[in-house]
Point group: C2
Chain length 336, copies 2
């Protein structure tokens, strides 16, 4: 049951290990035809598979990247992972997926582990809780890209939605449909998570742009567990909102739950715009509008950039914020 090594191949083919290695690495430049054939035969006869671990140790490259997502159960994350994996595959890179659970402690553990495994680079949905660690990676010129979120003051490429514009599109859509009392529901922005902050800011700006007042009673930014009572408050006002923007899937869920439990009608009594897509939204009721993120494109672009940084490890890159545009969908969702 012992594994076949390069030595076995060399013996069988009557050449040295070096030559077999050349063959494996496709350095055929000076290799005799017959040598090549002998090696080829030996390999297939023995069913030889190079040991990638040994190669990595020597080459100090693993042809593997790590992806640390906040939560793999979010469909946005899944799509991004999928896109990253596709891009990596095309370039003969492998992907290790990790879940940080939005927990800085777990995130740190995973980053350390990936570094110890000599992973060539990482794509991270950062928790924001490991500033020193992010910085140390920058110092080492270690290849990293951020997704979905950016960290102020950390010099790392970030790939994220144009969140302000997304909020603006949502508000514009509702204004166009005649609404003037528009509310917004977002998770707590205490931890300054980029999309939450930017979507809320964008929402307020958009109201002003459209000549509407910013009414604090229409803005609920709080832990998801408190949203039901927040919504109850909002809907006890004399001037109830007639439309709501739900800034992510969790808040949308709470909004729909509230709507259902209170027997409100969509869109007659309350019109709702959500972020990201709900699978099956096309074929279910009520029909909602969504700001969809180009998840696959974001994943692809982030992966390409990461691979480029890995390729040119010696080059010092200027880090950039890469913004992606959302698309507004009504009832029907895009295929991606």
């Amino acid at each position: 049951m012992k594994r076949i090594t390069i030595t076995d191949v060399a013996k069988l083919a009557c050449v040295s290990k070096s030559t077999v290695s050349q063959y494996l690495n496709k350095r055929y430049d000076y290799m005799g035809e017959t040598t090549k054939l002998r090696i080829e035969n030996a390999i297939s006869q023995l069913g030889y598979q190079p040991n990638i671990v040994a190669r990595s140790l020597k080459q100090k490259r693993s042809s593997t990247i790590g992806v640390i997502v906040a939560n793999i159960l979010h469909s946005f994350s899944t799509k991004v992972i999928r896109a990253i994996e596709d891009t990596c595959n095309e370039n003969d890179f492998h992907v290790i997926v990790c879940n940080a659970d939005d927990d800085p402690v777990k995130e740190e553990k995973y980053i350390q582990m990936l570094l110890a495994k000599q992973i060539d680079g990482m794509a991270i949905f950062p928790t924001g809780g490991n500033l020193a660690l992010y910085d140390s990676m920058v110092k080492m010129n270690y290849p990293v890209v951020f997704l979905d979120r950016m960290i102020e003051g950390v010099n790392i490429d970030a790939f994220l939605l144009d969140n302000e514009n997304a909020s603006n599109l949502a508000v514009k859509h509702l204004v166009d449909r005649g609404h003037t009392r528009i509310g917004v529901v977002t998770p707590s922005i205490e931890r300054m998570v980029t999309p939450r902050v930017e979507r809320l800011e964008g929402f307020k700006k958009a109201l002003k742009v459209h000549g509407l007042p910013v009414t604090n009673e229409y803005i609920k930014s709080m832990g998801v567990d408190k949203l039901q009572s927040g919504l109850k408050e909002m809907f006890s006002l004399c001037e109830k909102p007639t439309a709501l923007v739900a800034s992510n899937d969790l808040t949308l869920f709470e909004v729909l739950k509230f709507v259902k439990e209170n027997g409100l009608n969509i869109p007659e009594e309350i019109e709702v715009v959500g972020f990201d897509d709900i699978p099956f939204a096309t074929v279910l009721e009520p029909s909602l509008s969504f700001l969809s993120q180009p998840a696959f494109e974001m994943g692809n672009k982030a992966a390409e950039r990461l691979l480029e940084k890995i390729e040119k490890r010696d080059v010092l890159f200027e880090s950039e914020i890469h913004r992606f545009q959302p698309t507004l969908f009504q009832g029907q969702l895009p295929k991606n």
Copy 2:
């Protein structure tokens, strides 16, 4: 920018590499207190991180398993991955996730890659297209578990739903609600994918158990792209079905699309039972019933078994089929 190695630590602590290695591996048995302290200090002073690749090469273990899913975009797969990852984490194992896209060629490539990386074991949602390869892993006594599907004649543990019972529960539910004309919609069973075959078989058996005839016109098993015309046929019958079982999420989607496009009312005109959960199903309309799989439990159990096999690599295990019971949910979905 050169990495700190064990040699650097040894030098700084004025001990040999061996001793540092002992320390790293927590073999303190005979280690002097002061030696221990010196090493500890040296490590933290240098910010030393052991190179896992080198360790793996020597130990011939990587403390990593691979998961090959058919499609990461399915929420069932995501949940299973998540559960496997949690279990692995508790045991200091890492997880590499791969997408086979239900393509045997891709599956083979991934399996080879994982083997070359000296991964300690694999959890696979098998395509069924690589019998020889599965067998060769069995021959090597390489630790593998299958998920969601089993492969006839291949001696590997499989963790899957009690599909026949699931179909039976679906039929029973509908019969209890007074239905006698019950249809079923499943993807093509040409490739003999376990859940599809078993769910269809189970459906037929359940009809008989409940004294209902098996009507071929009520059974549509075909490529998802042909389902719309299949459903059209079914609903052109004089005796239309009054209830439908959709055996997975894709077929459920087609059913709901058909229902919506044809303005049918759920549940008045047609009652629907699906498999797996649709996120948001609780708060949307129409309210459906679902047979939910205990995805987290399945992932956990599969991972535990896999780790056990890795732990006791020398032991020859009897392979078993592990069945899990579905739960019928109406409108409301379970938290997992």
